[in-house]
């Protein structure tokens, strides 16, 4: 296998703001290859967004990171500010959750889409021409006119397409999508997802797709990482995860996903999600786990390779659910 496009190795992020100091990510390792769609799934507060933003070199204010986060071998964590800006303009870009909040409401759509290109020195005319092409490729009609309009003149779904166009402007090799459809209504969600996956495939970009919807992740991703309390607890292929979830938390998440074909009501994962700071020694999920043993509380379970899946659970072999 060639070196992955994005390679996160043992990434630990601590918030270090006086009394609020606490860890938010612990030993996260993941990778995304060129052209591969990878899902990152977990409950609210598990650290999905922090992981995503770290790939852009954006850490919470005053946070300290250890480990490595490499894009094509270059460590993002140690880049100079100038190199980091270049990375953000050309190599990695992100589609954010709420387009209404993420696009400046007082500036034109054209200003938004061309902003990165302009910062990279592309002349205004060329940038606008390119922006119109991009708007067209995300399915916005009359792209030339749209460039001169303002965000409030667009619906949420259209604005998310604008955001995608803006993210593609620098021809990135890696696209980060942080819950890109959570703020949209159901019908527009499907449209935006199909645009995103089509463009990802057409352009051969790597994509890290963040969601708390395991089913959605399985539908569009090749591989999926499951995150709990700032740690990766399981990773395997989408089919593998659905067919044979190894970690009790994954099993719980799957049971919590509403299924159309079943009339069984979804069961939520019992208990409340923990943040990493609250997590005790040992397995962070132990307190909510139906299969926890006393030794689960003793040491943090290391991820182990089980038939192609990485699982951080002491009892993974015993608990395979078919």
């Amino acid at each position: 296998m060639t070196a992955p496009l994005l390679d996160v190795e043992n990434l630990t992020v601590r918030l270090a703001q006086g009394r609020a100091a606490r860890p938010v990510l612990h030993g996260v390792s993941l990778h995304v290859a060129q052209g591969e769609a990878v899902g990152l799934v977990g409950e609210s507060g598990s650290g999905k967004s922090v992981t995503c933003r770290a790939a852009l070199g954006l850490l919470p204010e005053g946070a300290a990171a250890t480990g490595a986060l490499r894009l094509d071998g270059d460590d993002v964590l140690t880049m100079s500010p100038a190199r980091l800006r270049e990375l953000r303009r050309q190599d990695v870009s992100m589609v954010f959750q709420d387009p209404r909040a993420s696009i400046n409401p007082l500036r034109r759509i054209g200003d938004f889409v061309t902003e990165g290109m302009r910062a990279g020195g592309v002349p205004r005319k060329d940038a606008l021409r390119r922006a119109a092409e991009l708007l067209e490729s995300v399915g916005i009609r009359e792209p030339r006119a749209a460039l001169r309009r303002y965000p409030h003149e667009f619906s949420g779904g259209m604005l998310q397409r604008v955001m995608i166009a803006g993210a593609l402007a620098g021809e990135p090799r890696l696209l980060l999508a942080d819950e890109p459809t959570t703020a949209l209504d159901v019908t527009t969600q499907a449209e935006v997802i199909s645009i995103l996956t089509r463009l990802q495939a057409e352009r051969g970009m790597g994509m890290l797709f963040v969601t708390h919807d395991l089913e959605l992740a399985a539908a569009i991703c090749d591989r999926i990482y499951v995150m709990y309390a700032g740690r990766i607890v399981e990773s395997q292929t989408a089919e593998g995860l659905f067919g044979r979830p190894r970690h009790p938390y994954t099993t719980g998440l799957l049971a919590a996903t509403p299924r159309l074909e079943s009339d069984r009501a979804p069961r939520g994962v019992p208990g409340r999600p923990l943040s990493l700071a609250e997590a005790p020694d040992g397995c962070a999920f132990a307190a909510r786990c139906a299969h926890a043993l006393p030794r689960c509380g003793e040491g943090e379970p290391a991820p182990r390779d089980i038939e192609g899946a990485q699982v951080a659970c002491l009892r993974a072999e015993e608990l395979i659910h078919d």
């Binding site: 954006l58 990375l87 953000r88 954010f96 909040a101 007082l106 200003d111 916005i140 409030h152 949420g156």
Partner: protein
């Protein structure tokens, strides 16, 4: 747009009419016999008193007096000053240039100083921010006559850099003469605008689109200019408009302190000798300034925030 302007002009006319009535009424209701004030306390023959009463229509009922006055005002006739025995309009017009220069100069200092200090405080949290907060706190609390005395004793008496007195003539000389008065006039409002700017920018700095812009590789200075300062312009322009209109009132103290013969000083001297026609005219001018500033700010706002004019709604 034309319709809007027309409606606004109508609104301004109504505002001016109502305030003119209030101004006239309050001057009329001031205690004491207007005739004796007009005579400046001198004892006069009954014939002279009668002549004065006749000239200022003091024998007519209040509403008739008002009607006669406002009738003159709309044709540009504000009456005669009792103090100077001159047309009020000419008196005010002669003093207006000095005052406008002073206000313009002070407004420039307020905008530059307010934006600079406010932006620095918002962007450099910590020691710099606290210094600016303390400084603007002191500036806001300093009355302009105190500032005037301080500036005169330092820059005029001790260092001899600027004159302490007089209007000056010609551009350079004028600016030289008006520097200390403008600084004294601006000080309080620099503090005010700096605080408004700081708060507005801090609020905008926390917005998601600011972080998104950074995440797209836009250099920090462009992010501040195009997202933070740009989006903070709403409150900044509102406060600036009100402050600049209010400068006309604030000039009275500064013009008196620096011996400038402007409208503010005219107001002060007219109030002391109860020169009613002048007081009424200057009061109307103050109202006009506020109304105009409001209009300018209201016309600017849709340019600052397109959501105020453009239709809303999802399209295509």
């Amino acid at each position: 747009m034309a319709g809007l302007l027309l409606r606004r002009a109508g609104g301004i006319a109504v505002t001016l009419l109502v305030t003119s009535f209030l101004v006239f009424g309050s001057v009329h209701l001031a205690p004491g016999d207007p005739a004796s004030f007009l005579l400046g306390g001198r004892s006069a023959s009954p014939a002279a008193v009668a002549a004065i009463k006749e000239q200022y229509h003091l024998n007519d009922p209040f509403l008739v007096q008002y009607a006669k006055w406002i009738g003159g005002v709309v044709t540009g006739d504000f009456g005669k000053s009792a103090q100077f025995r001159q047309d009020v309009a000419g008196l005010v017009m002669a003093r207006l240039p000095t005052t406008l220069w002073l206000i313009g100069y002070a407004a420039l200092l307020i905008v530059i100083g307010g934006l600079a200090f406010g932006a620095v405080a918002a962007l450099r949290r910590g020691v710099v921010d606290r210094l600016v907060l303390v400084g603007t706190g002191i500036a806001t609390a300093t009355p302009s006559f105190v500032a005037a005395i301080g500036l005169i004793s330092l820059f005029s008496v001790q260092l001899g850099w600027f004159p302490a007195f007089g209007n000056g003539s010609g551009l350079g000389d004028r600016v030289h003469h008006l520097t200390l008065p403008a600084a004294a006039l601006a000080l309080t409002f620099v503090g005010l605008l700096a605080r408004v700017t700081r708060t507005a920018m801090l609020e905008e700095l926390g917005r998601e689109h600011v972080e998104v812009a950074r995440s797209r590789g836009v250099p920090g200075s462009d992010v501040v200019r195009r997202h933070v300062l740009r989006n903070a312009l709403g409150p900044i322009s509102t406060v600036t408009g009100t402050v600049v209109a209010g400068l006309l009132v604030a000039t009275s103290i500064v013009e008196t302190a620096f011996g400038l013969s402007g409208v503010g000083q005219l107001l002060v001297s007219s109030v002391t000798v109860k020169d009613f026609p002048v007081v009424q005219a200057v009061s109307l001018l103050v109202v006009l300034a506020f109304v105009t500033a409001n209009l300018v700010v209201d016309l600017l706002h849709p340019l600052i925030d397109p959501r105020l004019t453009r239709p809303k709604g999802g399209t295509a």
